[in-house]
């Protein structure tokens, strides 16, 4: 038992770095502030979701109160957070299934399989618990405040909330572990990462669907509520499918009564039994899959003399550097999924959201297309979307951190830092242009935009992107995060990357707001949008070149 606890502690620490944070709080205040800032930023990005759920729950409560059915708010929240922790849980289970830290050393320690398994479970549990907490809070607080509940209610709800993710995660592991074991193909780490990337698309689409449902709620609340709450409605049938949700809801709603306490105990007991059952049946299988997980695809093609001769050609230095950037990013699944794939993923999600409301959408489109300023605004929106997509790849915003310890190799080679950094800008722009191509094709297909508009969108967005990339690279050079053991840390837990995406979002939003507010409607705007960033970019580029020439040699790991 002790061993299990130490393993959990070790895993949690090495993945979330809590103890590092506490150490920093004591000794390295600046670093601690950075880490906390990152956490707040991430929470901030949830804020849209939180507002949406809260608004929905308030409306739902008000509608149900007259028929004394307001308890359904709680049940609905329990179902939603269960569903979320299930779908996201599967992603987490896959993403954390193989961790870099657990190389051969962990496997060689005298630990029982279930020790390792529960430690891994703890990691996915923690992130899901946070998620369940956020979603549950929106319903629990609305219900609690409106119904005038006391402290006991909140304690009760907290216990339930912390228990909610267990069962969905157990189911997730029951699904994934055997898949890993029996699917020979799936034993490949990389392949699994790609699968999880595609799952992410699926979840994005589902999420989009839910959002649209909630948005429609405004227009026709009674109808939607009917659909949700009627016998055999959505809530009713879901709770038949997953009865523990009803138990959890009853434990919260009937609080103060003995009944509620019993339901609470039952709910926790079911969750624990599920967990124990999982550990009992799956630990050995899990352990088996861990062994040999580092296997990589090996080419069986022998290189013959002629082929060798053909591949060993001298190339332009800049091309070599760009090629290296592309290969290293596209072949590392963690980088690819969180980087370039976003360009393909976002349009798919947008397409799905259009599809789900195609009736209203087509109608709206026809209406706006007749508007005299339609093409003007379409151009601006397209520019905004391209910039957002281009920056979402995090290519420039994480360009130094991604090198990791291999940056030492780079430093030992006679590489011109100016060329090196230019290659990184080009790498970003390659995908910026790809994003532009995708959006422009959509514009052409849906709205039949003209060649002038096409050129304006392309040129403006690429110049603005260049400016953003240069700023992001400045930040990376100044604060690179090179000392990591898991590539996730270079891209997902990198403050430069997060600020890069959110900052660009803010930049686009502020600009959009200004243009709408001031009612700017002039072709001069395009000229300004091209010329000003062009001038800024060229000045910044010169500054970047002289900065990198000095800074490159100062960065030490």
């Amino acid at each position: 038992m002790n061993k299990a606890f130490s393993t959990i502690k070790f895993y949690v620490n090495s993945v979330f770095g809590f103890s590092g944070l506490f150490r920093d709080l004591k000794y390295d205040k600046k670093k601690a502030v950075k880490t906390l800032g990152l956490i707040i930023l991430i929470l901030f990005s949830f804020s849209g979701l939180i507002t949406m759920f809260t608004a929905f729950n308030i409306k739902m409560y008000d509608l149900l109160k007259p028929i004394n059915q307001q308890g359904l708010v709680v049940l609905n929240t329990v179902i939603i957070s269960t569903a979320f922790t299930f779908f996201l849980g599967i992603l987490t289970v896959i993403a954390t299934y193989f961790l870099n830290q657990e190389g051969d050393i962990i496997l060689s320690l005298p630990l029982k399989p279930w020790n390792l398994f529960i430690a891994k479970f703890a990691i996915s549990y923690l992130s899901e618990a946070l998620f369940a907490f956020v979603i549950m809070a929106t319903g629990i607080i609305v219900y609690g405040v409106k119904n005038g509940e006391g402290v006991l209610y909140y304690i009760n709800s907290l216990l339930i909330t912390l228990t909610i993710p267990i069962i969905p995660l157990v189911i997730g592991y029951f699904l994934i572990t055997p898949t890993m074991k029996f699917g020979k193909l799936l034993k490949k780490k990389d392949f699994i990462m790609y699968i999880s990337g595609f799952l992410a698309i699926g979840i994005g689409v589902i999420f989009q669907y839910l959002t649209n449902q909630m948005a429609n709620f405004d227009k026709n609340p009674e109808f939607i509520m009917q659909k949700l709450t009627a016998p055999n409605g959505l809530i009713d049938s879901t709770s038949k499918l997953y009865y523990p949700a009803v138990i959890a809801a009853k434990a919260i709603i009937n609080n103060g009564k003995l009944e509620s306490f019993i339901y609470l105990i039952i709910f926790i007991a079911i969750a624990l039994c599920a967990l124990i059952l999982l550990l009992f049946t799956m630990s050995n299988i899990y352990y088996d899959t861990l062994i040999g997980s580092t296997e990589v695809q090996k080419s069986t093609k022998r290189m013959d003399e002629k082929q060798l001769k053909k591949t060993t050609k001298k190339r332009n230095l800049l091309i070599t550097l760009v090629d290296r950037e592309l290969k290293l990013m596209n072949r590392e699944p963690v980088y690819f999924i969180n980087g370039p794939m976003v360009i393909f993923l976002l349009p798919i999600i947008m397409g799905a959201s259009i599809y789900f409301q195609k009736n209203t959408f087509l109608f709206d489109i026809k209406k706006v297309m007749n508007h005299p300023d339609f093409s003007y605004y379409l151009n601006l929106i397209s520019i905004g979307v391209i910039i957002f997509l281009g920056a979402s790849t995090s290519i420039a915003a994480t360009c130094i951190s991604r090198e990791g310890r291999a940056f030492e190799i780079i430093k030992s080679l006679p590489i011109n830092p100016k060329l090196y950094i230019t290659a990184k800008i080009i790498h970003g722009l390659v995908f910026g242009i790809l994003a532009a191509a995708i959006i422009l094709i959509m514009d052409l297909a849906l709205f039949k935009i003209g060649i002038i508009s096409l050129l304006i969108i392309l040129i403006t967005s690429i110049i603005l992107l260049t400016m953003i990339f240069i700023i992001e690279i400045f930040a990376e050079l100044k604060w690179p995060k090179l000392n990591w053991d898991n590539p996730q840390k270079a891209i997902k837990q990198n403050i430069n990357g997060v600020v890069g995406i959110l900052g660009t979002m803010g930049f686009v939003a502020i600009f959009g707001a200004i243009i709408v507010r001031l009612n700017l409607k002039s072709n001069w705007l395009y000229i300004a949008l091209i010329l000003i960033p062009l001038i800024i970019s060229s000045i910044l580029y010169q500054k970047l070149l002289s900065y990198v020439d000095k800074r490159f040699y100062e960065i030490e790991i």
Partner: protein, 242 residues
């Protein structure tokens, strides 16, 4: 030729000086062995010569070129084998070698001949098409050695190059180092294997706690210690002293 003048280095996170005003001179055509206990400062010194770390004070010249002032020119002189071969796991062996060769501006013919010859000797030719991530430790080491030799560098610097090599590859590497030095190039390498240092090096330097405590030939060391002992015993006595 490598010249190190009064070089010191303290890591930003460390408190002690990892290297404390050291002076060294490695001549052309010579194999110089750099010895010292764990944590003595060997890797730190090597990283400063190769431009990975910047000295806090002092200067380093490679073939007369100041490493800090003209880094690109200085590095063009160097071939480097780091102590840890964990690099670019996502590239294939041949992609890595082509990248290195492009950086050193090696033309197509020379790189083909070098790769062909060295990959054959080190028996990694079959693996060139596979990703480096699938290589064993020794195979990675071999690949990096090939990369370090691809431009026929006037100065070859190796940090514990024999770790992980099989006996045959270790033998080949030692032969190669000898031949490379005999062709008028400079070789600087660190090692913990005393027999290798004893047989291979023209001169040795011993570093302890960041300070050089001896440089010279093995015979000179014997004279100072007034003993005709093996390098191993001399080294142990010297390092254990005080």
């Amino acid at each position: 030729m490598i010249t190190i003048n009064n070089v010191s280095k303290t890591y930003s996170r460390g408190k002690v000086k990892a290297v404390n005003s050291i002076n060294l001179e490695v001549k052309k055509g010579e194999i110089f062995g750099f010895l010292g206990p764990n944590g003595a400062g060997k890797t730190t010194t090597i990283k400063m010569i190769t431009g990975i770390l910047k000295p806090d004070e002092g200067q380093i010249f490679v073939n007369g070129i100041n490493v800090v002032e003209e880094p690109i020119k200085a590095k063009q002189q160097i071939g480097f084998v780091p102590d840890n071969p964990e690099i670019f796991n996502r590239l294939t062996g041949i992609e890595y070698l082509n990248f290195i060769a492009d950086i050193y501006e090696v033309d197509g013919n020379q790189r083909y001949e070098k790769i062909n010859e060295l990959a054959e000797i080190f028996e990694v030719k079959d693996a060139l098409n596979s990703s480096i991530g699938s290589y064993s430790h020794g195979m990675k080491q071999k690949l990096i050695i090939i990369g370090a030799l691809i431009h026929n560098p006037p100065v070859l610097i190796l940090d514990e190059p024999l770790v992980g090599l099989d006996p045959k590859a270790a033998f080949v590497l030692k032969e190669m180092m000898r031949k490379h030095a005999d062709n008028g190039n400079t070789i600087f390498f660190s090692t913990h294997i005393m027999e290798v240092a004893e047989r291979l090096c023209d001169r040795i330097g011993i570093i302890k706690k960041g300070e050089i405590i001896f440089t010279g030939t093995l015979d000179e060391l014997r004279q100072i210690r007034k003993e005709n002992d093996s390098l191993e015993n001399l080294f142990l006595e010297l390092v254990d002293n005080e």
